[in-house]
Every structure is written in C-alpha cells, then in structure tokens.
Symmetry: C2
C-alpha cells in the first residue's frame, strides 16, 4: 500500500499483518515491545493471545499453522525470549510451519551498550530461523513485516521468518503499512519423476515402498490416491514416522507409519528394492545406537523422488495414479487395506488401565473431527492402530523431537480451528516443559482435553539406556530417569493454572472423564495413573 500517514512503526506493522491475513499473535511481551502491544490494542484485525512462557507462544504458532495453513505471529522479548521459544521453533521448523516470529530488541542507539539484556540476538536468530531481518527505521517496518509474511511460504511448505524490531523503529513516526504478496502456488513435480515412479511401482510391486510425507500425508485425497496406487500395483505404502498432520479414523485410508524403533523400521522396509518418496525424505534413525544402522532402507535399494516436500505432492500422487491407470477411491482389496473399518463405534473398555484399554477408551470417545496432539511418547506409540476405528480426526505429532511441544500446539490448533475439539496426549515428563500452556487454555476457554499419562518416569529413557548399551546399577541413574520423590500431582498443577482436572485409576473412569471433557466448553485435564 505504501501510503504515508501518521502511524508509528508498530502501528504500521500491525496494519500490515492484518492486511496480510495474519490474524493471531501469540505474545509474551516486555518493555521493548510495549509500542507493539499498544498498536495491537488500537488497531483491529489481529487477535492477541498471551502466553506466560515464550515456548508456549512459539509452539502455539506451530499448531496454528498446521490447522489454519496460514501463519500466526509471535511477539517475543529480546534474545532471552527467543531462547525460551527456541525449542518449539525448532519443532515448527521441522514441521515446516510458517511463523512470523517478531522479536523486540533494544533501540538502535542502545543496542551496542553493555546493558543487562544486550546479547547476540542475530546469532541466536540465525541458529533457528532461515529468514532474519532487522528493521532499521519506522518507515521500513511495514515493508519488512510484509516481506516476513511472504517469507513464511516456501512452496507447499511453511518457514520461520524472524523480524527483529528495535524499540525505536516501533515508536518512531513515519510508519507505512504494506501488504504481503499472495503466495505462489506450489510447483508441480516434473513429469519425468512421475513416469519413473510409475515404471518402478509397476515393475517392483511389493518390492517397492511408496513413502508419504508432508502434504502426501496431510491431504486426505493424496492419502486416497496413494492407497489406490498400492492396491493396484501391490506396492507397500507407508507414512514417515512423524507427521505434522495426518487425517485418520473411520472411512479414511489405513496408512501405516514407519516405526520409530530402528529394528522395527528396518524390518518394515526389508526386501524393498526402491523407495518412492512422495513429499518424504530418506528415512534415517532418530538417534544413533552402537551397532545399528543410521540409514533405514535396505543396502542398495534405490531412492526415487516423486515429489519434493515443497512441491505439490497431492497433485503428483494424483498424476501417478493416472499414469498407472488407477482411479483414486476405487481401491480394490489387493495389497493394501484401502479403508479403515467403518463400523460405527468401538467397544468401551473397563477395568485396568492397560495400553489397549487406554487406546480403546480414546477411540470410543473421540468426537467427530477432533484434533489429536500426540506427545505421549512411550504410551503414545501403542495408540496408532486402534485409532483407525475412531471417528475421523487429524493427528498431530512433534516433528523436531524437542519435548514440550504438545500443550502449546494444542493451544494453537484450538485457536486455528474453532468448534473442533482438541485432545492433547502427553507424557508427564514432556508436559512439564511447557505446562504454562494450561493457563492460556483457561484464559481463552479453549476446548482442549489434556490427558497426562503419569508413569512418573522418563520411561522412554529407561528403554533408551538399554538401547544404547549403557549398563547401570545404582540409585543415581535411577534418580535421573524417574519423576517420583515427590510425585507430580497433575490435578493440583492443572487447578493452579485454572484448569479443572481429575485423576483416573481405571478404564471406566477414563471413559467417563473423556466424555465429560469433550462435552464441556472449556479445557480440562485427566491424569491417567499408569502402573
């Protein structure tokens, strides 16, 4: 727009964000951001959501992008605020979520002074954000903001764009509002890649794996095309082991995920002579383990890229189906079970809180079109298959492996998708990293049911200790991997944040608590007592 007016820089930025369809700002402001807060107050169009810790703000922005497909802004306070938000920016970066990451800084004539909050802001920003710009005057802030919004798009993917906003560029006069250019459509996969993939799948059948990632998983029609291709050619179809967003449940294609455990993943890929990558990348081990492979595909198996993650993966799968003469949705009962069972409802469990009972309780009570945020770590791995019988839903996973993503992601997903219930599945260890998100759920009255699997241990690490071949016998190691002495009381923690909570000790009580939670209009928390 570029018109001069009597805005200050902060006002020009808020106007720019609103004009560029950035409708939400997850904020934890400080002194250097006060003019931005004042501008948000005065100018309509951007909803402000307060977080009591920056990792909540950045994780919420990740969840928001996954459900809205458009970026939210953050508002962080100087380098330490960015530090606190770093881990969930890492997760967002791996999820390829777009975020307009606004970080306030000292005024231009103050930043070189040895003040307490002076720090290497450019250094930490560069370590997490592929796009960084520092505004140099109030007149430039609007254009910089528009450039940041545009930079959150990388084809079909999102990207973190960090705008460093010195206090004087916010309070200075002469702001000019701008507007981000419309996003370019994602580019098409090359025809040669489609032809090569078609030839490979036709030739190899079950000795080929079609590996879905990015929009190949996120888009339900892409899943259907992949399932139809598998049914027609006999190839195996798998999703990557973590996915930013994966539709699942009754009536949807039954796409399995590659397992997390190295041995299981290697086994699932055994015999494959080619991996056809549809928005995915070559599968690698999450961690290295002594004596185990780092790369998961069989030695010598070919890698063919059907479509890169940033390309139009659903269109590429559609084109592949056409090249193979397959009609999506017309999957036969061939090599791939095309569609999850559509029998209404699943049996309601009772009795002990086994993994099977927990999975059945969730599958039986999940409302239609729920959003499930999965950070249940050890417990969560058992939940996948039973969820095929649940009501249709979206399943969101941590993409960067940094724990503390779940509760913030649930906040952002709920705000991006009003009217859809959210279920956050959390380990007790992981939930502790960003438990402050509970307060934002209460303040914003978000319909999030948080389930804490309270095994009172870093259970995954107890397994990993064995996995890496470390041997221990003493109390010191036990102490590093347990969360007891004292036990965390999640009912009290939730109450402290203003969220009603209950502890359940059997499957019947879990079912009841889930039903009550999904029926309520606001957040609640269920602590599940694990053996």
């Amino acid at each position: 727009m570029g018109r001069m007016n009597d805005m200050n820089g902060a006002e020009s930025l808020v106007t720019t964000l609103a004009a560029s369809q950035v409708e939400v700002c997850f904020a934890n402001p400080g002194t250097s951001e006060m003019h931005f807060v004042a501008a948000l107050d005065r100018i309509a169009g951007v909803r402000c959501v307060l977080a009591l810790f920056e990792g909540v703000a950045t994780g919420a922005a990740d969840g928001y992008w996954r459900m809205a497909g458009s970026p939210a802004a953050t508002l962080l306070h100087l380098a330490p605020g960015l530090g606190n938000g770093w881990a969930n920016l890492h997760n967002a970066g791996k999820a390829r979520s777009g975020i307009v990451n606004v970080v306030g800084d000292h005024a231009t004539d103050h930043v070189q002074l040895a003040s307490p909050l002076n720090a290497d802001l450019a250094g930490i920003a560069g370590s997490i954000s592929p796009w960084v710009r520092r505004s140099t005057s109030a007149a430039e802030v609007g254009a910089d903001g528009a450039a940041a919004v545009a930079a959150t798009r990388d084809g079909a993917l999102g990207r973190i764009a960090t705008l460093l906003l010195p206090a004087d560029t916010a309070w200075g006069a002469g702001g000019r509002a701008a507007k981000a250019a419309a996003a370019d459509p994602a580019e098409a996969a090359p025809q040669a890649a489609i032809d090569a993939a078609a030839q490979t799948l036709r030739r190899l059948g079950e000795r080929a794996v079609l590996l879905l990632g990015a929009a190949g998983v996120r888009d339900e029609r892409a899943q259907q095309a992949a399932a139809a291709i598998a049914a027609a050619t006999g190839c195996r179809v798998l999703a990557e082991f973590y996915n930013a967003r994966m539709p699942g449940g009754r009536g949807r294609p039954g796409i399995q995920r590659l397992p997390y455990a190295v041995d299981a993943a290697v086994q699932r890929l055994a015999g494959a002579e080619a991996l056809v990558l549809a928005g995915s990348v070559e599968p690698v081990a999450f961690f290295a383990y002594p004596g185990k492979p780092r790369l998961l595909k069989p030695d010598g198996a070919a890698l063919l890229t059907l479509a890169e993650p940033r390309q139009d993966v659903p269109a590429a799968l559609q084109a592949l189906a056409e090249a193979l003469g397959v009609r999506a949705g017309a999957a036969s009962s061939g090599g791939h079970r095309a569609t999850n069972e559509s029998s209404a409802g699943t049996p309601v469990p009772d009795g002990a809180l086994t993994l099977d009972a927990i999975a059945a309780a969730i599958a039986a009570t999940l409302p239609e079109h729920a959003i499930v945020v999965d950070e249940a770590v050890t417990t969560g791995r058992g939940l996948g298959p039973p969820m095929a019988a649940a009501a249709p839903h979206d399943w969101l996973q941590t993409m960067g492996g940094a724990i503390g993503y779940g509760l913030p992601c649930a906040v952002g997903a709920a705000i991006a998708a009003p009217g859809r219930p959210v279920l956050a599945l959390e380990g007790d260890g992981s939930a502790m990293y960003t438990l402050q998100a509970l307060w934002t759920m209460a303040r914003e009255a978000l319909p999030v049911v948080t389930v804490i699997f309270a095994n009172r241990a870093y259970r995954i690490l107890q397994g990993e200790l064995i996995g890496v071949g470390a041997t221990v016998s003493g109390q010191k190691a036990v102490d590093m991997l347990t969360l007891d002495r004292p036990d965390l009381d999640w009912v009290a923690l939730a109450k402290g944040h203003g969220v009603p909570a209950v502890r359940v000790e059997d499957a019947g009580a879990l079912v009841q608590a889930l039903r009550r939670g999904f029926a309520s209009q606001g957040p609640c928390l269920i602590e599940v007592a694990m053996g």
Copy 2:
C-alpha cells in the same frame, strides 16, 4: 593425568570433572546423554541433581557458582535442550558465573543426517557461550573436559564453557581422564590506576562517585574498604544496580545501589565530575526510553578504572585505602553511613500487606546468614533499605534481565551452601517461567522459602508502558499485562510440585508463615496476596 585405561569417554569425563573439583551436575538428560548418566552412576564424586526443564539446570548452575565460587556442570540434551537453558545461561554470563555446560549431541556419523533433532548446535552454542569445543573422539573427552573447567575461569570472574559431547565419544572406548590446571590468581590492578583514583577522590570529594561492581560488592572486606574511603574522602559510594552477590544486613557497610529507573539514577549521579570504577562498568540505562538518556553519568564526567571486573578488585580497594591513608573498618561518621544499624531485631508488622509491612516482615524474620534470591521485580525494589536492619545475609539478583532466574538460582545456591537458609522473592509473572524448579527443591529437600508476590499482573510492564510513552485504552493491552482470568493459584501449583504452601492476606500471617518456613527442613512456598 592422561593414563590409558578401559574407561569409555563418558567415564573419563566424569572422572575428570571429579578430579577438577566439579562436584555437582544439574541434569536434564536424553538418549544421547545416557552413557554420561551411566558414568555418573558408576563413578563417585559428582552429585547429580535432576531438573524437569533445562532452564532450571542452567539457572541452578549460576546460583551454585555465586555461592560456591567454583563451577558446577550441566547436562543438556542437544540443541533444543541448550535452547531451553539459553535464557538462564544469558543471566549466568552477565553474572560472570562459571559453568561447565555439557551438551550431548548426535553421534559423529549421525549428526549430518536430516534427523528430527538435527539442528545448528554450533550456532546456538556460539550465541551464548564464549568458549565452545566439540569432542571428536573418546580419547579426547577427558582433556576437553579439563580444558572446559579451566575455561570457566577468567581472572576473578567466571565464564560459560560449553562442551559438545557426541554420543559416540561418550560410549567409545579409550577414554583418558585428565585434571584441570589450577586457576591463576586474578591479576592486580595497575599501581597507576590506584594512584589516579586516589588523586581524584582526594581532589573531588563528594563530586566523585566510587562505583562498586563484581568482587568490589561481593567481598565484605572490599565493601568495608570502600566505605572507609568514602568516609575519609567524602566521596559518594554506590554499587551497580544489579549485583551477582552482595552481603548486607546488620553490622555491614550500608552500600546503596544505583537505582534502576533512569531519572532516579541520573539524579543520584548528578554533580559527579568523575566516576571511579571498582569492578564496575559505565552505568547505562537498562532500556532506552524516548527522550531519556542512555548513559547515566553527567555529561563530561570522567571515567577512571580503578580495577576491571576480572582483576583483584578487593585488593585494589585495599590499596586505594592505603594510598589515601585510610584504615578499613575505621570509618568515621563522615560523608558515608559506615555501618548498618546493629540494633537487634526489627519491629514485627501486622495489618495490611503494604510494601513497608512486607519489607519489615522479611527483615524481622530473616535468619542469620540467609541467602536471598531477589526476582521480585516491582515489589522487590521497595525491599532494599529495610533489609539493612535484617540479620547478615547475601543478596543475589538477576544479572541479565531474563526473567525465570530466581527459583533455579535458589536451587543452586542451596546446594552450594548447605546449612544456609534460602529465601526466594518472586513476582508471580517471573516465577511462572521456571516453576519446575519447585520440584527439584522438594526432591533434594532444600531449605528454600519461596515468596510469591501475587499481584496478578506484569506490574512492571504496566509502568514501562507509560515509561516508553505508549498510550492504550483498550482491553487487548490490559489482557497482555495481567495474569488474571484465571487467577494463578500458587498454593495448588506448589502442591503439584510436592512443595507445601500457604496463601497469606495480612502481614501477621506473612510473619508467621516466614517463621514456620525458616524453621522447616525442606522447601515451602508463601503466596502473598497483593492488592
């Protein structure tokens, strides 16, 4: 030591740390650190303290150094773990605390793969740590650890030294233990600086300010020398506005601090023709404000460095006193009130919870040799003067301005100084950043009394908003600066972490709760209802 044996790399590192007097490790480990955990388990000499969030571990290491004068180690999990610890490393860096900051990383042959936790670890480490080394083989880990310990010393100051520990260098065979070289003594300030300072103070009298920082504040004899110099020459003596550790209370020199607010600080320095820096640096405004100065000293006033922070500041002050013919401890009743009132006890307040009543309650109940960790922000600013009448104590402040330092710092201080009671003064907003520290207090049975000043607002920001000249009228800005809807329930939050707690609504109840808290053997929390 360098002897070959059958240790793995992790064992050589633990042996090296123990041999180098690094006696505590504040840990939040993950898979890549499992061998280090196993080594800590098998080898005696390093106490392990588990934190449920990395910011607790790094803040505790800061508090530990401040009280022990020797470094603790941390154990963090990859780049996101370092991100979570970044803000309190920033505070520790500004406090010039020494920390052996151990960050596990992926194995050497895994780190280049596009795994979920792959990140720019070198970039984020370089943005916060002046010394970074990445071990390249198990045989080098011991020597690298010894070098890291040595690098935590910079004359009289500490430094953050970050050791990146790939998983295979931890599990690999051929570890060699080493031992850090003894620290060099801090260098002496040059005689010319002492002579120049003596001449200036003698010439200018009250038109000179002797500004104490670093060990000039931390060392009680240095404070006494400064007070005696002030009494003899008539110069003003002040401490910097934030100090890593400042002895105070009855019988100690009554050193005032430079105020935080720009106008008040400028006024306190008005008329000064010279600032003599004794371990301090030129005072600058914490933040920039439109139309206010960034530099606090009067225009044209000279800056003389008596001793740099890393030099032997107490010896320099002693030498300065001698050059002036002053005997420390023999302060007259001249320009400076030499010693805080030594009248036993202070009146116990009752009635409303005014700032004066709160200060009196703390001053009246504080046990001898308590450690006070001050992150009370708005409320805390009123506590300074009344504490002169309290029992002798050490006062610790955040040095980097990143909130969330207080509760972790209290953990580290309590572990560094067994037998000394700790009082953590917290704003409700600031305590929320790292509330997980409460759990570590409970697990380690630390005698920490946490007082939460629950004003249910970012009260400091409500003032800063006016300070920077921003004007607001609407609910959106109010919402960004308040912590109500819902109210945080600190009694429940503490209980959730295993810490007993009480809420007090008048001064009598506060006195009673403080007395009970200081008499108990473990942690407790007091929520103070602010108007």
